[in-house]
């Protein structure tokens, strides 16, 4: 093999190797934002099921898109909100499995109703607090208002 060919192959291989690395990194970058917003997108086929009474009003400007844990052992955990309810508790099938001695197995749930997210206490021992008031019956949750369960706090964000 000539000197030139060797050099071309050598540099070419390194270039393609780095191309792979950079591709992987660009996938990572798109991934940081990609799935989050994709998960939030209101279901793409809203039309075929008009009879369903409970439904988020699509494309409401400041509708919450995620539930963020702001205090407690799970701080930083984010759950993208879809049409499904979000259950909070220590039971392993909860959407967010709380690791909090002051939480009950099935502590509370968040569900969408008429374009708003409601929080409902499921008969927990220590109660659920929306900001400072105890949740006795389902209450609407505004953006950025902390929901407190034991040592854990959540809030809705855009």
């Amino acid at each position: 093999m000539s000197e030139l060919t060797i050099t071309v192959i050598r540099l070419g291989f390194l270039a393609v190797l780095w191309l792979f690395v950079l591709t992987a990194i660009s996938v990572m970058r798109s991934d940081l934002f990609g799935t989050r917003t994709a998960g939030v997108r209101p279901a793409p086929v809203p039309a075929p099921r008009p009879a369903k009474p409970v439904k988020i009003k699509p494309s409401k400007r400041n509708a919450p898109s995620k539930l963020v844990v702001t205090a407690g052992t799970l701080t930083g955990t984010t759950v993208a909100l879809t049409e499904a309810q979000v259950t909070l508790g220590r039971a392993p099938d909860s959407t967010i499995v709380l690791d909090d001695d002051y939480a009950s197995n099935r502590h509370a749930r968040l569900y969408p109703s008429n374009g708003e997210w409601m929080v409902e206490d499921l008969g927990s021992t220590n109660g659920t607090y929306l900001d400072r008031s105890r949740v006795e019956q389902p209450m609407a949750v505004a953006l950025g208002v902390p929901i407190r369960i034991g040592k854990t706090a959540f809030e809705l964000r855009k």
Binding site: F13, L14, F20, V21, M28, D31, S94, T95, T125
Partner: protein
Amino acid sequence: MSSSAPSVASASVNSRRMTELFLLIFAWGLSVAAYANAGYGVTNEWPPGLVGYAVTLGAYSLVAHLAVRQFARYADPIVLPAVMLLQGLGLALIYRLDLDDKSPSERSFGPLAPRGDSGIQLIWAAIGILLFVAVLVVIRDHRLLQRYTYTAGAAGLILLAIPALLPAQYSQVNGARIWVRFSGFSIQPGEFAKLLLIVFFAGYLVVKRDVLALASRRVLGIDLPRGRDLGPIVLAWLASLAVLIAERDLGSSLLFFGVFVVLLYVATERTSWLFFGFIMFVSGAYFAYQNFGHVHRRVEIWLHPFKPEYVTDASYQLVQGLFGFSTGGILGTGLGQGRPNIVPYANTDFILATGGEELGLTGLMAIIVLYGVIVHRGLRAALAARDSFGKLLAAGLAVILALQVFVVVGGVTRLIPLTGLTTPFLSYGGSSLVANWALVALLLRVSDAARRPAPPPAPTTDAETLVVRP
């Protein structure tokens, strides 16, 4: 839960499996190119088994990809291609060393794939991928592992202790007693103990972290834990010292203690644990340096590798590796153009020196960034995981990989004393490769759970829900 994947919610979430497939094909192409390049560089003709090799490697990627598609649909799309590329590069480098080391009859080619060390490594890779698939199939939910916290801990310790208890003729290779040798066949149980102990650490710390996070006094801005809470860290320290003394395995002992301390920190959010861990590490290291000949020797070699009495013997390997790096320079000599086989154990401990010589600093950086990408994705999975055990498990797996790469790269480049750990996925060696494939499977399992859209509403049994009164 895993059976209810195709729900309304999941339809709108991109699982990114096509991205993974694209990256896998890219990685496959690069691996085959590296292999062909290495063969052509040394012998000036295309490797005879090239097509068979390409097909084999493609089949490996396809099997792993289909398994992820089927059993961990939402898992991270980057980890598997990065791992495949590292393994492909490793195989190409091992094959390249075979070409110089083995006599033509030893490396005579089968119709499908190479023989020699790279052929054996190819078989180990197949076993590793089968284990990868098996882990994904058997462990459908990583929380299952939490049930076996103490079982995993006991099994891990036993695996770790086996080589120390066996007679030296069955366990000792080049000074380190970390092997179990049968007739012509040897494994390192410590590689598997690594995974089991991480499961144990994660399960244990989930339960005990509230206690360990208690701080009693604040001295000089550091929260000092109570004396009795120091128990676990002291035990971990003693165990890793025992590994060091009984098995003469510097690397593993450092790895276990490091992972435990980092997980303590992750679980309790107390920097004081890092502080304590560091002090204990330094005192332990100093004690070992003073009292054990093999540790003392390693440090001496590290500090004075070019001393005339070491260069031809004790530090020969390290120094030849350094010469390899310097020959490679920024851009390397090109695959097959260098002489990396001068370094003893070039295809295990010093595979990075081979890479550094033939791919140069540029190629070495790419390899290190690939490890960084895998570790980053592991830590992302830990951040996104919805349960504490998953968080600690993913963090532990990512950290042990990072530590191992740091210790190996640091040792080979003389940043820290050489310890003789394997380079994950690159080095020749079955146990390490197979165990690391299992590690990747666990990481993808946690990642799948973390990235899966919120589970569809549990069958609403709210009415008869039993509330446990704590």
